[in-house]
């Protein structure tokens, strides 16, 4: 450090020194960093349990310096339910992609939200199956080309993209639902605030909290990280609007 300067930002201590395997520009790593910053700020490193899915983020336990349980494909919500019921005072979150949460694990997600299980979902929605070779996901946009929809997604055959944040916001026992993105510095700051709010609501035992992240996949969208930000702005955000869908009512003083 040069003399006369103060440190105002450094890599959070809750991230390990392991180099992340994600492609350059992937929002998985951005969200890992933002979540671990929140855990560090709330001083909950010893009291946080994460549940990791199958997908690109399957090795998240290598990067987050907290307790992490690996779940079977799509069953992170069920595993998190069990952990939270045994350890009601710990901070528990499930970290899932769209293939895990919205495709194979839809039943677990819907029923965990319907029961109002008191943990946080972090849902990384990049609209494609990134790890397995860029196949069409339930959240792939209409007309978007993937390896299993080479002429673009056709709603007449496979329906419209699934809006998970809107769906789970209808359940009575879900406390907080917000969709965020990391495509600009301002949105990334909002994403961090949303994660912090969700963790605080969880510690107040208000019910399920659900954060959907409109994410990118430069490798499987076949573009550069910069172009993926433009795609998010021009195509993803008009269909998946950002914002708070449900929030607990503030108690009047």
């Amino acid at each position: 450090m040069k003399e006369g300067y103060e440190l105002i930002y450094q890599r959070p201590k809750t991230l390990t020194d392991t180099r992340m395997h994600y492609c350059p520009g992937c929002f998985h790593s951005t969200m890992h960093k933002l979540m671990m910053e929140v855990v560090e700020e709330m001083d909950l490193q010893e009291n946080t349990i994460g549940v990791c899915p199958v997908g690109c983020s399957v090795f998240a336990y290598e990067y987050m310096n907290i307790d992490v349980q690996e779940a079977a494909h799509g069953r992170a919500a069920a595993v998190a339910t069990g952990i939270k019921r045994i350890h009601p005072d710990k901070l528990v979150f499930s970290y899932q992609g769209d293939g895990d949460l919205a495709a194979i694990g839809t039943a677990e997600t819907i029923h965990a939200c319907n029961r109002g299980e008191n943990f946080t979902f972090i849902f990384i929605n990049n609209g494609i199956y990134g790890m397995t070779g860029g196949q069409m996901a339930p959240t792939t946009l209409v007309g978007q080309k993937t390896s299993t929809s080479p002429y673009g997604r056709e709603p007449a055959k496979v329906g419209l993209p699934l809006k998970m944040a809107e769906i789970v916001s209808r359940f009575g026992r879900v406390a907080y639902v917000e969709r965020v993105s990391c495509n600009t510095a301002a949105n990334a700051r909002k994403a961090k605030k949303a994660v912090r709010k969700a963790f605080e609501y969880q510690l107040q035992k208000l019910g399920t909290t659900f954060i959907e992240v409109a994410s990118n996949c430069p490798s499987q969208w076949k573009c550069t990280p910069e172009e993926s930000l433009d795609w998010i702005k021009d195509h993803v955000l008009p269909y998946f609007p950002l914002g708070v869908f449900k929030e607990p009512e503030k108690k009047e003083k």
């Binding site: 300067y5 103060e6 105002i8 930002y9 890599r11 960093k33 700051r189 430069p218 990280p225």
Partner: protein, 76 residues
Amino acid sequence: MPQKGYVEISIEGCKGCNLCVISCPTDCLVLNTSDTNSFGLHYATLADEDKCIACLNCAVVCPDAAITVYRKIKSA
């Protein structure tokens, strides 16, 4: 000496995704396209430290948490 602050970018931690460069409001970061790190990737560097205002934008968007930010201590 930098005017308001400066950043340090870990060469081995950077993957050259360019997100910090396009998020910088004062254009003081550049992607070094003439050199690579041990992974064979270009890395971002602070080209003009006088322009840096320590706004944290690059550190917030950096996916690999490779950026450390310092701010000048205001003299009382």
